[in-house]
């Protein structure tokens, strides 16, 4: 009911989130360039400074560039704000979609048995259909919904992280 209103609110007054997103990405790119100009990277530092060497075998998770974008996110600049709102919105839509699916499936079960009483007496493998559906089939269904959600949510987060890091 009120969820629709909430999601509207989460995107705020911006009329087109995608336009805002493109703008945000452009700004992020500009910031990144600025960051590159002002930051001395470990590897680059070896060539330039020449004295102390620092050997980097793997890229660290939180490079300074990322830290800078994160600081921006935390400072609630317009870019950070838009990105976070967008992430929250995408994640909420995923959850709401899967919840609606679950509620529709669960809610349809009593209605189906009420409207079509013969379903209640159908027998499969010697067991009544309602017992099979409510006692057995719903559990793999729950696990499948949960698995779908975990994949989707992790992908959304990966997209967000890549957008922030690049």
């Amino acid at each position: 009911m009120s969820l629709g209103g909430i999601s509207d609110d989460a995107t705020g007054p911006e009329s087109d989130p995608w336009a805002a997103l493109v703008k945000a990405a452009e700004e992020a790119a500009a910031q990144e360039q600025a960051a590159k100009d002002s930051t001395v990277y470990p590897i680059a530092g070896r060539a330039k400074a020449g004295k102390r060497e620092r050997i980097v075998l793997a890229k660290r998770r939180n490079s300074r560039r990322v830290v800078r974008t994160l600081a921006e996110l935390e400072d609630q600049t317009s870019v950070g704000e838009v990105l976070v709102r967008q992430l929250v919105r995408v994640q909420l839509m995923l959850s709401v979609r899967l919840m609606l699916l679950t509620v529709a499936v669960l809610g349809a079960i009593p209605v189906a048995f009420l409207l079509v009483p013969s379903l209640g007496t159908t027998t499969i493998f010697g067991l009544r259909l309602p017992w099979l559906v409510l006692g057995l089939a719903v559990y793999p269904f729950f696990v499948a919904v949960a698995w779908t959600y975990n994949r989707g949510a992790e992908r959304n987060e990966q997209d967000f992280a890549e957008m922030v890091e690049n």
Binding site: A10, P110, G135, Y139, E157
Partner: protein
């Protein structure tokens, strides 16, 4: 003599369960001796924590209650285990990962981290206590029932024994709710239920099917004359004129002697004795499915079946996320992604477990239908081995002991988690002082539900637990969902929603919990979630919009922390201590919990 044997076997099984659990606890303590225990627990991974969550979650209601409900209500009762499981799906979709990233250990912590209000924290504390107490009552009831069935001691004995064990655990830390122990509890409960069910199924599939159990025949007749002595007022439903001998009040008049009951419903008062002659049809309580046909089919029993079913689903679906003893467990997961994976595994583990109470309820309808007449269907699982394999026979004794031990494990683990949660908020937020406060709080945490349970116990175990879910769904679910997803929430709005929704739900379920409602009235009043949950959401939204000047200034920062991917490293618990203006809140409380009694 067989009674003594049953007593010895059951006690031996319980001691074995306790010993194995303590060994697991010692092993766990040894494994994490060198490092911070919380870090150690976090290296265990989602599999252990999922089993631990399931272990703490599967309580008396799941272990004994569902079999009894299936015996009574047939296929309609399957909504209970379904809802108990689906609650984790809602928790996964809307709460798990952001809650973990918030760094909150309890619900009041979350309220304070998100909205920064001391008043709201106190309101949440009050509701944690209410939900915890409502949830503890059925645990104690189940313990009393189990001991009563095995040893014929009065029901307070079992409840008192469980509370002594729980307090002992909490004081000594031997069987604390550490992850390994709780994970172990899941497998104990699964084993203690699965083995008897498999053996009884094999027994049934052999040529030992109970007489008169074919389709359409029940309710079967008493094979010998039988006295029924209900321990609360019940309404019996009979389908043919029946001659009974009554000693006590029946149909609102004192009777001493033979009566012929016409078909219909008849009330029998507490402590009256009703004697049924051999060959008379076994009556059922008025809320049970009267014959095998309605038992097998949906919408068989109850007054407002469709509405009550939906209301129950709402409560169970949305109430799980507000259970105090479950949320704390997520703190063991290292990050939000692990919290999600843990919940996925919990769904699978619960799905596996709930097969067995359902099958045992089905077996109970075949072997122990006479429990329907006495109104103590919760004893179904305990009575099953004796009825199927022969009272006093060695296999029945062994299986009975196994079931009783598993049931005890269920009461002890769920009750420990609940008492720790309730005592934790009591001592930090209500009572003054540190350790002495916690000890006093432990006593307070269990003495109130114990007194309540002794005063009244007319609800089925699973229904009793359902009341706690209704209150949790009407108070904490809106707080969590709106707090995580809506930046417009204010402390005033949250407080108003919790007080109105949760308060109304509590007011509605209290008469049912206290057993003052006539059995026929326990429809929607005992299951108000369908109305109180939307009301709580609506109140929170409307009041928050009216008080939008109270939206926390750092709401964007908090939402970022709740939702930012774990690998960005934004949701580290330590970050909270560095936030301005948040000293003395969750961040200040957490280190104390880490070092002390809340270790896992």
């Amino acid at each position: 003599m067989p009674e003594l044997a049953a007593f010895v076997v059951t006690v031996a099984a319980m001691v074995l369960v306790a010993a194995v659990t303590m060994l697991a606890g010692l092993y766990g303590a040894k494994a994490r001796a060198t490092s911070n225990f919380l870090e150690a627990a976090r290296t265990l991974g989602p599999r252990w924590n999922a089993a631990a969550i399931s272990g703490q979650y599967l309580s008396a209601a799941s272990f004994l209650g569902i079999a009894g409900l299936v015996l009574k209500g047939g296929v309609d009762a399957l909504w209970y285990p379904l809802g108990f499981t689906a609650g984790y799906l809602a928790l996964l979709l809307f709460v798990a990962a952001p809650l973990r990233r918030s760094g909150a250990y309890t619900l009041p912590d979350f309220a304070e981290v998100r909205l920064g209000s001391e008043r709201l924290r106190r309101i949440c504390t009050a509701f944690v206590i209410i939900v915890g107490w409502l949830y503890l009552v059925p645990q104690l009831q189940g313990a009393g029932l189990t001991v009563h069935e095995v040893t014929h001691q009065p029901k307070w004995v079992g409840a008192a024994v469980v509370m002594v064990i729980v307090s002992f655990n909490i004081y000594t830390g031997w069987m604390r709710s550490i992850t390994i122990v709780q994970a172990f509890q899941y497998w104990i409960k699964l084993t203690a239920l699965a083995i008897p069910v498999f053996i009884l199924l094999i027994h049934y599939a052999g040529e030992h099917q109970p007489a008169g159990s074919s389709l359409g025949a029940p309710p079967p007749a008493f094979s010998v004359g039988k006295d029924i002595k209900p321990d609360h007022n019940i309404v019996l439903k009979i389908t043919e004129p029946t001659r009974v001998t009554v000693d006590g009040r029946q149909d609102d008049q004192p009777t001493h002697g033979p009566v012929v009951w016409p078909p219909g419903e008849h009330t029998v008062d507490k402590n009256a004795t009703v004697h049924f002659d051999a060959g008379s049809r076994i009556p059922v309580t008025s809320d049970a499915a009267a014959d095998y046909g309605t038992w097998l089919q949906p919408m068989g029993a109850g007054k407002h079946p469709l509405l009550a079913t939906y209301s129950l689903i709402v409560a169970l679906l949305l109430g799980t996320m507000g259970l105090p003893h479950i949320l704390g467990r997520y703190y063991t997961d290292p990050d939000g992604t692990a919290a999600r994976r843990t919940t996925l595994l919990v769904l699978a583990l619960l799905g596996i477990f709930y097969l067995f109470p359902v099958v045992s309820g089905w077996l109970a309808r075949l072997y122990v239908p006479q429990l329907l007449a006495a109104g103590n269907t919760d004893a179904a699982l305990l009575a099953l081995p004796g009825a199927a394999l022969g009272t006093g026979s060695v296999p029945a004794l062994l299986l009975g002991g196994l079931i009783a031990a598993g049931a005890f494990a269920a009461f002890v683990s769920a009750a420990t988690g609940l008492v720790v949660s309730v005592a934790g908020v009591l001592s930090t937020d209500v009572l003054p002082g540190r350790l002495r406060g916690f000890r006093a709080a432990t006593v307070a945490a269990w003495s109130v539900p114990l007194a309540f349970m002794l005063a009244v116990s007319s609800l089925d175990l699973a229904q009793g637990v359902g009341l706690a879910f209704a209150v949790a769904a009407s108070s904490f679910c809106p707080l969590l969902v709106l707090g995580i997803w809506w930046r417009g929430l204010t402390d005033t709005g949250a407080a108003a929603g919790i007080l109105l929704g949760g308060g109304l739900a509590f007011a509605a379920v209290l008469p049912a919990a206290a057993g003052v409602l006539p059995p026929n009235w326990q429809g929607l009043l005992a299951q108000p979630a369908m109305f109180t949950v939307p009301l709580a959401f609506l109140t929170m939204v409307v009041v928050s919009r009216r008080t939008s000047d109270r939206i926390p200034a750092d709401v964007s920062r908090i939402l970022l922390r709740l939702h930012a991917p774990d690998r960005l490293g934004l949701s580290d618990d330590r970050d909270y201590s560095q936030l301005p203006g948040r000293a003395g809140t969750a961040a200040a409380v957490l280190p104390r919990m880490r070092g002390g009694r809340h270790r896992r």
